[in-house]
């Protein structure tokens, strides 16, 4: 606890406020331990990518931040997770609020089977406890769609079912629908793995635009993506964090042998 406060203080002192900070995070699925003493610091306003071989616990870590993994019912967590300075594992934390503060984008685009408009307003309406006025809602929809550069493509068919959009458009919509409730953090689990290279590029560009206003933690298997679309990089192996450094540094001069091996494709 003491070390926590000092490190936070140090971070603020250097002007690098943390959006997400975990300390001694351990997680068990039943009796299987998936995370071991994970300490990460995600700097505000930056894109941090989370890399590592399959099964190393990237999704697990990501899903413990908005506590969506608790829907499984047999997950146990110890340690602390702070989102914008608040410990989200605190029993008094309201899960619905946490999930609006830390929006999540999934591997497969998963728009709800509603219209594009209703998808965009889903979280917004939950948050304000009912429908807003027509003009307010129109404004919200337009703003969110413009933010993800989708407005021109869909502005004439907002009542169309969202599941009929192309995968790229669906994934952008899934990002857009988080924005009206003003999250501070966006958690993305391989958001481009279902997309073709061109769509991947488009979504990456989008992330780069959103960075600054939002702090983004993105899991990726695509090294090229991690390299070109993130500021910092966290490498995980078997449930542990091995290395966390600026992306340029990690790809040019990795500090650990495992990191070097992984980046060169020697395992994973």
């Amino acid at each position: 606890m003491v070390s926590d406060t000092t490190s936070t203080a140090a971070a603020t002192a250097t002007g690098k406020a943390k959006a997400i900070q975990t300390r001694k995070l351990n997680l068990w699925y039943g009796s299987f331990q998936a995370l071991f003493d994970v300490d990460i610091d995600v700097v505000q306003g930056k894109v941090t990518s989370l890399i590592g071989p399959s099964g190393c616990g990237k999704s697990t870590l990501l899903r413990s931040i908005n506590r969506i993994n608790e829907r499984l019912g047999y997950v146990r967590t110890t340690g602390t997770i702070e989102v914008m300075g608040h410990n989200v594992l605190d029993p008094s934390v309201e899960l619905t609020q946490l999930r609006r503060a830390a929006g999540m984008v999934f591997q497969r685009p998963n728009p709800l089977p509603l219209s594009i408009r209703d998808n965009l307003l889903f979280a917004y309406r939950l948050d304000r406890g009912g429908k807003g006025s027509r003009s307010d809602e129109d404004e919200v929809v337009e703003k969110a769609l413009k933010e993800v550069l989708l407005w021109d493509q869909v502005k004439d068919r907002l009542l169309q079912k969202a599941t009929e959009l192309s995968l790229e458009e669906q994934q952008k919509l899934c990002i857009a629908r988080l924005l009206p409730v003003k999250p501070s953090v966006l958690l993305m689990d391989e958001p481009c793995s279902a997309l073709d290279p061109e769509a991947t590029r488009a979504v990456e560009d989008l992330l780069w635009q959103l960075r600054g206003e939002y702090s983004i933690l993105i899991v990726t298997h695509n090294m090229a993506q991690a390299r070109r679309a993130s500021d910092e990089c966290i490498f995980m192996l078997m449930g542990k964090v091995v290395e966390h450094s600026a992306t340029v540094e990690m790809f040019v001069t990795p500090k650990h042998q495992e990191t070097a091996d992984y980046l060169e494709g020697r395992f994973g």
Binding site: Q97, R99, N110, L112, P113, F122, A123, K161, L178
Partner: protein
Amino acid sequence: MSDNTVDNTSSGTPAQPPGKPPGKPPGKPPGPPYGGTPKRRREDRLEDRIDAAWIWDRIARATIFLGGISAIVFVLAIFLFIAREGLGFALSELDLGYFFTSPNWRPTNETPQFGALALIAGTASITGLAMLIAVPFALGAAIYIGEFATGKTRETLKVLVELLAATPSVVWGFIGLSIMNPLIIEMFDVPIGLTVLNAGIILGLMAAPIMTTIAEDALKAVPDSYREAAEAMGATRWQIIRQVVIPSAKHGLVAAILLGVGRGFGETMAVLMASGHAINMPTSPFDSARALTATIASELGETANGSEHYRVLFTLGIFLFLVTFVINLLADVLVRKGDKKRS
């Protein structure tokens, strides 16, 4: 293995009848590629067909085809049979106006009267009451089993519901007769307990399990990714169910309800036993009534084959058939309309 192959080839070549024109260029011996008995080349076998796999395929296809069309054949046959026995009579000799507007069902009078209104009202009121009871129960149970219960609770509940669905209808009738009857008399202080209320409750309890099972299937068919997406946007359990799961499953849920209505309409034995079976226009749940199905079941055995009474009973059958048909059609149209609106 490869030695063998070479052997085969070399021994096969001289065995060719002399004088046969050399069909294949030399140097490319037509030997079997993997040893064993010599086989013809793949491209020469293009027209081969009859082997075990082919025969099984034909048998399976024929069986499946027969199974498939038998359903259609049976439905048609049933309809033709009922129509032959009753349709001509219904259209030419029977006074259909009287049939549908008079509550006087006196088939054994000297001048028999065939007014089915009381029977139709009986069936309608009992089914209606049954649905009022069954729909909330069934949907509630389906949502609980599908969305809330987990592990053992869930499995146990599912087995119990299926067990309930398999209870023979005469058992339900018996419950109506021997348990509900005195209970209603005592609770409401009424002279008889074999009433629309009794039959409606019994029928509702009967229809609820099957509706639950189908409704739960519909809920289960909603992809979990929808729930996860909504939960990750901060929706509560109930909001997820209300705003995501039920709308996605609504076609299946409507189908479940309509199936329950169909079940109520066609149910005979339990209704016969619990309704009082009295020809009567029910004006309150505490009146006895008589259902269409129960009338057919109880009277058909006593009529002379081909008599007027016999044919009127078949007319009732045609009416039931048509109503069920319309209900199904309605369900179909509703579902299609929903599909179109969603896309």
